[in-house]
């Protein structure tokens, strides 16, 4: 009688130690948009350990090669592993020394294959990635999820950003935003996320990638307004409610 499952299966209870079941240290949303000169991306610097805000200095956006910028939400250790894979990829590409370099489209394709194949083995890299870049004047902005769903758009977001930031971007994004307008729009989205996402913190970085290269701002915080008079004494006229 044949055994029901092969020995190296990842699906029995004993195999739970060999695959990712749930994330431990997570980053929250990343929001990115295309503007006149390239891509703008924003992410806060928080790494949550369940419901505790354990790490407040996590850089969730990194440059990949000369032309791309990667932002990640989800498990931080898997993000670091992805960076190692991409390091190897870029190194291998540089060793060819042929004057050609991997652009954002190629890196996005690589990431899609990576994420999808891990998902097929029931051992996913628990991240939602945003890959943006510009090569030879062509801007590219794409996203890959932990199950391998990938697409390309003028503005993308991960996690809560999909619900809170995308509606704003759909209404207010337009072609050829200037740098200041792009930053203002990103800050608007990040502010709403700060108000309404419990795992967001008020310490964010904005990264910009253009033909000249990638720059990432120093961490800073957004101005918030908590002084609406209606919030100060909400039940003033409504005796008996809370």
């Amino acid at each position: 009688m044949a055994s029901k499952q092969p020995e190296n299966s990842l699906l029995g209870p004993e195999a739970d130690s060999q695959r990712t079941l749930y994330p431990n240290v997570t980053g929250t949303s990343v929001v990115a948009l295309k503007y006149k000169d390239g891509i703008l991306m924003a992410a806060d610097m928080g790494g949550s350990y369940g419901s505790t805000l354990r790490y407040k200095n996590v850089e969730r956006m990194k440059a990949i090669g000369k032309h791309s910028l990667l932002g990640a939400s989800g498990e931080i250790s898997d993000f670091q592993e992805i960076l190692r894979y991409l390091d190897d990829l870029i190194l291998y590409d540089n060793m060819w020394d042929d004057g050609n370099s991997l652009g954002p489209k190629e890196v996005h394709n690589y990431l899609t294959r990576l994420m999808y194949n891990r998902r097929n083995k029931f051992n996913p890299l628990w991240n939602s990635l945003v890959l943006g870049g510009i090569k030879n004047g062509e801007k590219y902005l794409g996203t890959v999820s932990m199950i391998g769903v990938n697409f390309e758009d003028d503005h993308v977001a991960t996690g809560f950003g999909n619900h809170l930031a995308r509606p704003i971007l759909r209404q207010e994004w337009h072609e050829n935003l200037s740098f200041e307008d792009g930053v203002r729009l990103l800050e608007k989205c990040m502010r709403v996320l700060l108000y309404r996402d419990r795992s967001a913190i008020n310490k964010l970085q904005i990264a910009k990638i253009t033909e000249e290269g990638m720059t990432i701002s120093q961490p800073y915080s957004l101005k918030t307004y908590w002084e609406f008079s209606a919030f100060e004494n909400p039940t003033q006229g409504a005796v008996g409610s809370w």
């Binding site: 619900h163 704003i168 759909r170 608007k188 609406f228 919030f231 909400p234 409504a238 409610s241 809370w242």
Partner: protein, 273 residues
Amino acid sequence: MSKSVIEMPPKGGFSFDLCKRNEMLAKKGVSPPSFRKTGTTIVGLIFQDGVILGADTRATEGPIVCDKNCEKIHYMAPNIYCCGAGTAADTEAVTDMVSSQLQLHRYHTGRESRVVTALTLLKRHLFNYQGYVSAALVLGGVDVTGPHLHTIYPHGSTDTLPFATMGSGSLAAMAVFESKYKEGLTRDEGIKLVTEAICSGIFNDLGSGSNVDICVITKGGKEYLRNHLQPNPRTYTSSKGYSFPKKTEVLLTKITPLKEKVEIIEGGDAMEE
């Protein structure tokens, strides 16, 4: 054979009798039937002189839109209106019930209803049913103590807020409110902001759609703007109606009645009981 236990009439509220049976079934792998969540975007906003409520008009049965133009802003009292999200039957029934209770209360006291009265009646009922009455409401009105806006959750908790959103499209609408709300809005600014928030829900949430309903309540009275905005009109309707292509030539017309004509006799015999 006489029963030793006196039969007590049910006191109302949630009956926990079947909970043990449900637990046993769940252990055996029988999953309970899931609730059909009707997607919605409902919002409320306090402005200078009163309250503005807004809602979309799509009613869904799972993946199908069953009503393209339903009314989600329910009447509670001449000065109080309530938007409902969740199971449509629950929101209708619970708002109808409390509306009648408020009417009786008005007759009893001889005074205009207060928003906190509606609030308390609703939350007591919902808490009694432990969240099984799946109604998430945005209650707004103006009474002698001023304008009020409350949200009521299916389990019976309430919040008192200057701006509120509920339903599956609540995050899309809240994104608009959080970025554009300011104090001391005028009537027109308020209506514009509420419309924008509902439109954000309509276009970004699959459970919401069709038109925007608005209700403006002030000390002077109320204005129910049904279908204030219709951003999803039917496209490509032919004004001429349906017509056959011109190449079809009519050669012969012959009409054959398939049934005898029915004759109606006035003042015939009455039906037998």
